[in-house]
């Protein structure tokens, strides 16, 4: 047993020597995780979308229309840009100076005061992800507030007290409570998962490249010799270094990056650490197995480089898992990212603990076993002879 452990550490030390002389592995495994974590993280440092340019065409030019414009500009989301007419507003939209425009018709105030419905036109460009829904939501909110103000004034004029008038204005109120991301910010939603995706992809690319390198340089025999010709010792030793390195990265991200980006960990920290450890342990045989399929290191890095977006998009984090076609659901289920991100989100963002993530833990354990078996079969088939 002691001999096996010693062999494992000797193989881990060999892995460090290989990485030290291979600048590609050095870059992918030592520089990229930290660089990406800060670089990608900084994109969403403001977390929320603010100051989306919206053109306002005010044909009414009354106290009420100016109040509406002011209210729109006072929202966090909207940055009002003046436009002289609808054609001008459309031109601003065409040249991407604004993301939408609002047209306030002439006679709006007069109609409202005369108890007639008035009309406002909102045109938004649905060509990007966030701006249209945020603009729509902010404009609806402003129009509802103004409408409530009009009703309040009417009821007060009818002789109601302020309190009764308020009750009459909004007899049914909607209280919206977005749980686990109170400001429904894009950054708070994406960043925790993104940091783990960086961890995953650099590990997959780096370790797959290292395995492909063994095949390219014909050094698998040397690895087996160090392991006393034992598969488990050889690959436990090789994986050991990556496990320790990525466990350190994970702890660094959870403390330093989470703190800089002001991301809370709402759930049980100990369960989170165990979950990440299991995740890394599952990624290691997966990366080794994938790497063992490539003949050259260049090809391994090139092909694995294309995996980042597909892996992320089919995990159910960005697009609901249930909406994926059955084939992609099956593909998603064989990725460790899928159960991991569900469990990780449950702990980090939703404040969950070990009890809530047992199915995902079992799923990860099954994947660890499956990838270890795949690795064993492929390595025995290709290298032992």
């Amino acid at each position: 047993m002691i001999k096996k452990i010693t062999s494992c550490f000797r193989i881990a030390a060999r892995e460090i020597r290989i990485i030290a002389i291979d600048h590609s592995l050095l870059l992918t495994l030592l520089l990229a995780p930290l660089l990406y974590a800060f670089f990608y993280g900084s994109i969403y440092i403001n977390k929320e979308e603010v100051n989306v340019p919206l053109a306002v065409v005010d044909d009414d030019q009354t106290t009420l229309s100016r109040l509406i414009t002011e209210q729109l500009n006072n929202t966090q989301v909207i940055d009002v840009v003046g436009a002289k007419d609808v054609n001008h507003a459309q031109y601003l939209l065409d040249i991407s100076k604004v993301q939408g425009y609002i047209y306030i018709q002439k006679g709006l105030e007069e109609k409202v005061m005369g108890l007639q419905q008035a009309n406002m036109v909102l045109a938004v460009s649905v060509s990007r992800f966030l701006p249209p829904s945020d603009l729509l939501s902010a404009v609806t909110q402003v129009s509802m507030t103004v409408s409530a103000g009009v009703r309040l004034q009417y009821f007060k004029k009818k002789g109601m007290t302020e309190a009764i008038a308020m009750q009459e204005t909004n007899p049914v109120t909607l209280d919206y409570r977005p749980l686990f991301n109170e400001r429904t910010s894009y950054g708070a939603y994406l960043l925790p998962g993104l940091l783990m995706l960086i961890l995953q992809q650099t590990l997959l690319i780096g370790l797959a490249a290292s395995m492909a390198r063994e095949r390219q340089e014909h050094t698998m025999g040397e690895l087996y010799a160090l392991a006393g010709d034992r598969f488990t010792t050889a690959f436990t030793g090789k994986g050991l270094f990556y496990f320790i390195l990525y466990a350190i990265y994970a702890l660094f991200f959870l403390t330093v990056n989470f703190s800089i980006l002001d991301l809370p960990i709402r759930g049980d920290y100990f369960s989170l650490v165990l979950l990440i450890a299991l995740f890394i342990a599952t990624l290691i045989p997966m990366a080794m197995w994938i790497g063992s399929l490539f003949k050259t290191q260049v090809l391994a890095v090139q092909i694995m480089g294309f995996s980042t977006y597909p892996f992320f998009l089919i995990t159910g984090y960005a697009w609901p898992y249930e909406e994926l076609p059955p084939v992609l659901q099956a593909l998603s289920a064989i990725l460790p990212t899928t159960p991991f991100l569900q469990a990780y989100t449950s702990i980090v963002q939703q404040g969950g603990g070990g009890a809530q993530i047992l199915p995902q833990v079992a799923h990860l354990a099954a994947l660890w076993l499956a990838y270890s078996v795949f690795l064993a079969i492929n390595v025995r088939r290709k290298f032992r002879t």
Partner: protein, 386 residues
Amino acid sequence: MPIVLQIMIREWKRIFTLSVHYWALVVMPPILFFLYAGIYQEQKVYDLPIAVFDEDNSAATRQLIFLLEQTETIHFTRSVNNYDELRDAMRRNEIMGAVHFPRRMEANIKSRKPATVTLYTNAAYLVPAKLIYKDAASVLLTGGSGVILQKLVKKGMEPAKAMALVQPIVVSTYSLYNPNYNYRLYLVPGLITVAIQMMIIMAAVLMLNYERTTKTLEELVVLAGGSASNIIAGKTLAHLTVSWTNWVLVAWVIFPAFDIGSTLGGWKFFTLYSLMALGCIGLGAMVSAIAKDTMLAIDVGLFYTSPAFVFSGYTFPKWGMPWYDQFYAQLLPYSWFLEGYIKIFTMNLPLAFAWPEIRGLLWFIIVSYPIAVLVFQKQCNKILGV
């Protein structure tokens, strides 16, 4: 046959025989394009699991539950009896939201006391949370307006005037270019084109230096008469024509098959695409000339291109990013291409509207090719002993 054409034909052969080229330019494109289109096959999100927490159990709440169930995204899958049960179900990912109707809600409404309906969403998953809010808010606010309307009419107000008081300002919304908020329409083209940028660059960074790996550099230099510009021009033409086959696949197969866009490709899209492809090939050639080590070139290609989608401003707007991220976005051909693509394809504007983006893409071409030629010419001279 002119030397440039001979080199182009030679490069075609390399593209279809060397794994580092054909994987990136021939095998991966159809796989990724169909995968991305397949992810958003449903186009919209339907029937998300929602819980109801009904403490009133009145005719009014049953009516509201019925109306909520009729929306696209809301599907009541269970009921909960308290807040803790609700949170626990969310943590287990069993529900994506919940609606709470308080005790005596109907009675309070009838007796002029305000009632509050609470909508909970699991905002750790942003897309479902926003969709649930949109649908639920529409139903619940309409319900609230209905209550006001009924009260005013009961008091003897004319229905038209009562309606004007309930909703003094009607906002008529026009969602331009993608009226149904179809995710496939606005995510698939972006994902496909960012993959294309990556494929072109990842193959082009091996365009020159991989000749050393295959031990064919000298033969190539001799064939080109020692002219780096002939080599780069011939290879660029080969890579550009292969990138056009991917354009055909996207514009003539994927887009029509998945009902993306109203026109088949079109020359505007082709022009912009070709400029992006030329810019990417130029950048790849430049890296390939400078970095003799193929692994280093691949690493540079990978680390340069992989953040392109998030930096492009397609998902999170550029104006929300810090200045240095906005600056980096300008250094990626994809950011320029995407802005232009939105104008000429999504918004169907004349190509002239994309002039700022075309100018941006031209800069990549103007800068990268001369550097690639200058650096590679030195290597050619060395090989020929000039």
